[in-house]
């Protein structure tokens, strides 16, 4: 197990290297120049040249790339062109809102999806089952931004229960924190709830008539226990994979949701930095997202061994 983990950790290095090459190329091949953006439309060519030199943008792309990689290997992601703060610090300041949003969305998804799936399987031969299938399909196909605006107009403006925008840090107040996160997290969760619940339902239906469940029922075990203990726990294993993919999806989704709800997270930082051509920050954020993604997947793989005693990595 330990050996496997170490091996997997080492395999991250080439992945990161490829990601950084691609990001660097995309960022630097895109037209636009931070010097023009900082100095504005009536700046002189001399001032532009001077600022470019100061920012190190006058060097060739190869030199800039080697400098950047060298610094990264030493743990230095560079400095933001826009705020002159270290990129690491800029990212860390924005991680809180994004992770808060993701955790709330994940929790909402699981809190709603798991009981729904169990309930549907329990009532599997009623009208509820096809109803659920279409509802989950609807949830997965509604565009997030449209659903977000609808929710804001309904529950933010017409019936003002929730705030229409903004974010309050958790250390300011737990209540305020969750209050501001519910709407955006629900929008993010709306896509995933249907997905996870259907995945679980299918998995559970597969094992609901298997021999071991029949045996359990024959022993006189109550249906609720059969479902929860025998059926659900088996269906959870494939679902775990989906949850891993979902985390990646949530990271992408936060880019849109953070903009609509004005949440100062990683997604907004990325968009703002692209508009500002803040190269070091764009590169840093994309690397950061890649690292999160790779680690989540590693974690999920390790979780398998825990959930399913048959899986062993040694």
């Amino acid at each position: 197990m330990l050996q496997y983990t170490i091996r997997r950790l080492f395999s991250i290095i080439p992945v990161m290297l490829i990601v950084s090459v691609i990001v660097f190329l995309i960022v630097h091949l895109t037209p636009g120049n931070p010097a023009y953006l900082i100095l504005g439309e009536d700046s002189s060519p001399e001032a532009i040249a001077q600022l470019e030199k100061q920012l190190g943008l006058d060097k060739s792309m190869a030199v800039q790339f080697v400098d950047w990689i060298k610094n990264i290997l030493m743990g230095d992601l560079g400095q933001s062109i826009y705020s002159s703060e270290p990129v690491i610090q800029v990212i860390m300041e924005r991680v809180g809102p994004t992770f808060s949003l993701m955790i709330t969305a994940m929790s909402l998804t699981l809190i709603i999806a798991i009981p729904t799936a169990v309930f549907i399987v329990w009532r599997r031969n009623t009208i509820l089952d096809p109803l659920f299938t279409s509802a989950s399909l609807l949830g997965a196909s509604i565009p997030e931004f449209w659903f977000a605006m609808l929710l804001v107009l309904g529950l933010g403006v017409a019936v003002p229960i929730f705030p229409v925008a903004g974010y309050v840090a958790i250390d300011v107040g737990l209540g305020d924190w969750i209050y501001h996160l519910i709407l955006p997290a629900f929008v993010l969760a709306s896509v995933e709830i249907g997905l996870i619940a259907r995945m679980l339902r299918d998995g559970m239906l597969e094992s609901v008539n298997q021999d071991y469940t029949k045996t359990a029922r024959a022993k006189g075990v109550r249906e609720s226990v059969v479902l929860m203990k025998h059926v659900l726990s088996n269906a959870l294993i494939p679902t775990t994979t989906v949850i891993g993919v979902m985390i990646a999806g949530l990271l992408g989704g936060t880019v849109i949701i953070e903009t609509i709800f004005t949440i100062p997270g990683i997604g907004q930082l990325l968009i703002d930095s692209i508009h500002r051509r803040d190269y070091p920050v764009i590169q840093g954020v994309v690397l950061f997202i890649a690292v999160v993604y790779v680690f989540v997947n590693l974690l999920i793989d390790l979780l398998y061994a825990f959930l399913d005693p048959r899986i062993r990595y040694d």
Binding site: G40, S83, M149
Partner: protein, 531 residues
């Protein structure tokens, strides 16, 4: 099943309760809003601010966002009042010697910095030294300044090497005015922009905190030394800070701003597209705030064919029906006006309507004829614009249509703002750009006329240069008016750029914000929030 029934009813009940409660709230609000009443001190003002500035040091950048926040923190020796006339702020008075080369400026006694030290002549001298190196206007004035000295505790003397009558307006120019900061800070910062710890000014609000990308927080400066006169408007006169705190919250989406104002999250929101004016107007709890915001132009690239030829530029001017362009672009008449002058009618000391005869000289036949006489060979004209702005996109599209009617071939090349700025610097990328220029406060600040730069399309004119020189030594208002008319006439004749229309900007505020007076930017002093 029964239980879920009960739950549904309970949820519905809660919804109804919330609905009623909020209706009661809004009823109460609109009542109290009708009575302006006595000023109320205290509370926080939440401003939805559309762009996140790079810095709050306006001397190091011309960005509007920087200036709008900075005005609450920093002050200048002289500044502009509501009619754009120069008035003292930190200064008490000034005298000019008979040969017009020595300016003796006295400072008001007991003006406090936010670190509670008082402003002395030494601080002013150091601030002027930094202004001469950093500010875009200061570097121009620098050529005329021979020496700056502190005569006594509260008097500063500026000696010029030749007559330069623009000195006062340069120091007051809102775009990169001479901000007064403590001597140690001027010296420590040098040519670099001030850092957050260095935001020490004399304004009615002081800098508290900046969470980049999220919010900028200012708090009331308790020891603010206000001028004793009335509020002169603009950036001077008596300023009273009623709010305990101003929060500039970075909000990008105008719809979020409007929703936020409706529900009381924000009290003020900046930069609402005029398209949404009807939405704003129909909402009783929101008041529109409008102010002048420069004008839209199209600038030809004058280094290369075809627009190096004046005849082709004239043909272009006759081809464009600017009234039609403006009407279909801006729609509502409240948000644009047709005026060919270089400055806005509101800027009384800078405005002259003389010399703008050809501004609306739309004549398709003349355009065709001029185009035929010229060397234009039918090569497609590239109109470049930034597709971040709906306004300039529309102007470009209508221009294309009107130009094709007289025989131009036109190609539209839209870019995202950052790419657009870079492409602008090379004449090979475009023949015409369509862009807006914010309100300027002196002829030397007109970015679309700075000679031999991309911003003016590489304009090169001896006439314009000599007018700028004449402006800097002009003595009387009559003389200035004559030069301004001449400037209009030069632009009219040489067509370095073609003005489309004056623009008006739209902000919105909650009806609870009382006695608010708008200028070219936000002014959050002498205003308060009713209960």
């Amino acid at each position: 099943m029964k239980r879920s029934y009960l739950l549904t009813i309970a949820i519905l009940f809660i919804f109804v309760l919330f609905g009623c409660a909020s209706q009661d709230d809004s009823g109460g609000e609109s009542n109290s809003g009708e009575q302006a009443g006595e000023p109320i001190e205290g509370g926080a003002l939440n401003v939805a601010f559309s762009s996140d500035p790079d810095t709050l040091d306006w001397m190091s950048t011309g960005a509007t966002a920087t200036r709008d926040v900075g005005w609450h923190i920093f002050e200048t020796l002289f500044t502009l009042d509501k009619d754009y006339q120069i008035k003292p702020m930190i200064a008490e008075d000034y005298k000019v010697s008979d040969d017009q080369k020595v300016y003796s400026i006295t400072i008001r006694e007991g003006v406090n910095f936010h670190d509670n030290s008082a402003v002395t002549a030494e601080d002013v001298v150091a601030s002027i030294e930094r202004w001469r190196k950093v500010s875009s206007v200061g570097t121009i004035a620098n050529d005329y300044i021979e020496a700056v000295e502190a005569v006594d505790e509260l008097t500063v003397e500026i000696t010029l090497n030749e007559v330069y009558n623009s000195l006062m307006s340069d120091m007051a120019a809102p775009k990169s005015a001479l901000m007064i900061i403590p001597k140690e800070i001027s010296e420590a910062a040098g040519e670099r922009p001030l850092t957050a710890e260095q935001y020490i000014g004399t304004g009615p609000f002081k800098f508290e905190n900046w969470e980049r990308g999220n919010e900028i927080v200012l708090t009331r400066f308790e020891d603010y030394s206000a001028r004793k006169e009335e509020d002169w408007g603009g950036l001077t006169g008596e300023k009273i800070a009623y709010f305990d705190e101003i929060k500039f919250l970075i909000v990008k989406d105008p719809q979020v701003m409007i929703n936020g104002l409706k529900t009381g999250i924000y009290d003020y929101a900046q930069s609402i597209p005029p398209d949404l004016y009807e939405v704003v107007e129909s909402e009783p709890s929101i008041d529109p705030v409008t102010y002048i915001n420069g004008y839209s132009v199209t600038t030809p690239d004058k280094t290369e064919a075809p627009f190096d030829d004046l005849k082709v530029r004239q043909a272009l001017n006759y081809a464009l029906n600017k009234e039609v362009i403006a009407e279909s672009t801006y729609g509502n008449k409240d948000f644009y006006s047709m005026d060919g002058a270089l400055f806005d009618p509101e800027q009384k000391v800078l405005y002259s309507d003389k010399g703008t005869e050809d501004y609306l000289a739309y004549d398709k036949e003349k355009a065709k004829q001029l185009l035929e006489e010229s060397d234009y060979n039918g090569k497609p004209i590239k109109i470049m614009y930034s597709n971040d702005s709906e306004t300039y996109k529309r102007i470009s599209q209508i221009m294309k249509q009107q130009m094709e009617e007289v025989g131009f071939l036109v190609e539209l090349v839209p870019y995202e703002w950052a790419t657009y700025l870079e492409k602008w610097s090379d004449p090979a990328n475009w023949d015409l750009v369509v862009v807006g220029w914010s309100t300027r406060f002196s002829p030397s600040e007109l970015g679309m006329l700075i000679q031999d730069t991309s911003s003016s399309g590489w304009y090169n004119s001896e006439k314009w240069g000599s007018l700028l020189d004449a402006w800097s030594v002009a003595e009387s208002p009559e003389e200035r008016e004559e030069i301004l008319a001449d400037m209009n006439q030069t632009v009219n004749d040489e067509l370095p750029f073609l003005k489309i229309a004056n623009e008006t900007k739209l902000d919105i505020k909650s009806e609870k914000i009382q006695a608010y007076d708008s200028w070219v930017g936000q002014r959050f002093w002498n205003t308060w929030k009713s209960e």
